[in-house]
Symmetry: C2
Subunit: 351 residues, 2 copies
């Protein structure tokens, strides 16, 4: 067959196929086919020094069970056409109600022996957000953050004011004793003892650095069938914290960010470094402005930029196509996800 004959045949084939290309234009992505919508959920229960050697089989099983329970609760909402916001709130409430994590019930103690909780939530569709910081009598701070977002013109409320808002909205407050757990109380005593030692030593520090090796912040990010992203984060901060210290969890752009045009992110780690790096928004910006994939963007921020600055921790994130990333630069991060394939995955250590 001559070259011109080949060219003629090619033109004929292309001409015949042209009308069908319209079909593909209208169905470019899987999520637009009815019944085949992409959705997924990813969550974390904190990153830090988590070593298999110092974990009992019972405790590891407890963690895995609780992560699975939260994951399943969120996923079920998404599967039944619920919103990513509902899924994120439901999953985080379960983690807040467990004494295992440093959020809600299991929050660490401040220097004064109180519990000061922070939380934030963001809706990727509207870019609306809600956050609370330094609240002491809120069982589920993630739900109060959502109330701030949905029932007030504000984004952030702190301290007694945030609790007054909770009361005005009919939310029941809990007594300080609700947050007492023996494990966290012992951690505070240990941190105080260490602080006293530091004071006595010649290497006296003007401001003892709080113990940040124990993390346990919880967070969740989800994509629902409508293509809407959402994320949320909840924490008790760091053991022995004082002076009304607030970390990155309730800071929109740092610990929590969601934007339908890019991704939804929740972070965990040494909060100060995450604020200074504006971690969650930086991941979104690297995707939007530099064309990086979720994986590339999240790894650039967590494994390169944060490490360079000295920040420990990780993030969980999901993008608008349902891709999931969970980079962390510590020895472990409690994490779990169900991606678009529908299979649940729960992990703790680096693997």
């Amino acid at each position: 067959m001559s070259h011109s004959a080949v060219a003629r045949r090619c033109i004929i084939i292309i001409t015949l196929l042209l009308p069908f290309s319209v079909l593909f234009q209208h169905l470019p992505a899987q999520e637009k086919q009815p019944g085949k919508q992409r959705f997924g959920i990813v969550l974390h229960g904190g990153a830090g020094t988590i070593l298999k050697g110092s974990m009992t089989p019972d405790l590891e099983r407890d963690y895995r069970e609780k992560l699975t329970q939260a994951l399943t609760a969120g996923y079920t909402i998404l599967k039944n056409n619920g919103s990513s916001l509902d899924a994120v709130e439901a999953a985080i409430r379960i983690l807040e109600d467990s004494p295992l994590f440093n959020a809600g019930k299991g929050a660490v103690f401040t220097h004064e022996g109180t519990n000061e909780l922070d939380a934030a939530v963001m809706d990727g569709k509207t870019l609306k957000a809600g956050a609370v910081a330094a609240v002491k009598h809120i069982k589920n701070p993630i739900s109060l953050a959502r109330m701030v977002m949905e029932r007030s013109p504000h984004v952030m409320m702190v301290g007694d004011g945030a609790e007054a808002f909770a009361k005005a909205q009919g939310m029941e407050l809990v007594g300080a004793e609700y947050f007492y757990t023996e494990r966290r109380w012992k951690q505070l005593q240990a941190a105080r003892a260490k602080e006293e030692q530091q004071k006595d030593s010649s290497k006296l520090k003007k401001y003892p650095v709080p113990d940040t090796s124990v993390h346990g912040t919880v967070g969740c990010a989800a994509l629902d069938k409508m293509g809407n992203l959402a994320s949320g984060t909840s924490t008790g901060g760091v053991t022995n914290k004082r002076y009304g210290r607030v970390g990155d969890s309730p800071i929109i752009g740092s610990g929590t960010y969601a934007n339908n045009s890019t991704c939804a992110v929740s972070a965990t780690g040494t909060g100060e470094y995450f604020i200074r790096s504006v971690v969650a928004h930086d991941i979104s910006a690297l995707m939007e402005y530099k064309g990086l994939s979720l994986k590339e963007a999240a790894e650039t921020v967590v494994m390169v930029k944060l490490v360079k600055l000295g920040g420990d921790g990780g993030v969980i994130a999901i993008d608008k196509d349902g891709n999931i990333a969970m980079p962390f630069n510590t020895s472990g991060m409690y994490r779990a996800y169900i991606d678009t394939t529908g299979n649940p995955v729960v992990k703790i250590y680096r693997e």
Copy 2:
């Protein structure tokens, strides 16, 4: 002359010039030549509904004088080889001490008739940052924010805790009466009366929207001779605010951000929209990841993205080369700058 002869001569010339290239490597930019360092400062005293028709000549003169005084104080520090951090703090302290602006002395009243102040500062060289929110007895919140940055391992402290830190650092606290000004008290009464009217009307709102037409947040950004950027912001928030509301001013990445590789920014406006847009970091990210100029980046965020979302206000910003941008989408913004040419400029209205 033959080709080979030309080539030979070229090689000789290049060889002779090579040793001098070392000189140029060490002096790549103008700012590194002694006596010709680029430096500059820009500040704002709030954006909002500022109309020439509703301003008396005396009041306008007072505003221009105070802006000039703050500008000169900051610029003098830079000129005398001081740091951008020192310049930013000095300029903001002068604006905080004036009753004209909604920060420090002139802070607006909360619903309860108290004053709750927020401030933040960021060092573009180290990416260190400090912020305080909801403090009631701090004469110069910008200086407390700097103390948090320099004398604690934390970035953000709120409420009574932040004041306890101030005391522990030897800072003198002021009584609540220090913040009383007749003008702000009258504004609260007017806002309360308007709120009562809203309650009585059929268009009852569950949560009366605070009056955000009066802005007056102050902020400053500077580039020093060493090439270091810094920015800071200080505010009393919005009149009649309640429930411990915190706006964008003390949120690193939103109201305040500085990074030597891009720019330093301070924002003013309807804070909630600025938080949701992560305004200050977004300007930096557009420069870093998309290659936009400071002017293009700041205008994209303030005049396009914020307007689309419904946010009112503006930013002042300076980049690593000393370029200045001051976009605002309201009728006016108190603003002033001295750029690398050394000429002071003070403006209030759109012009």
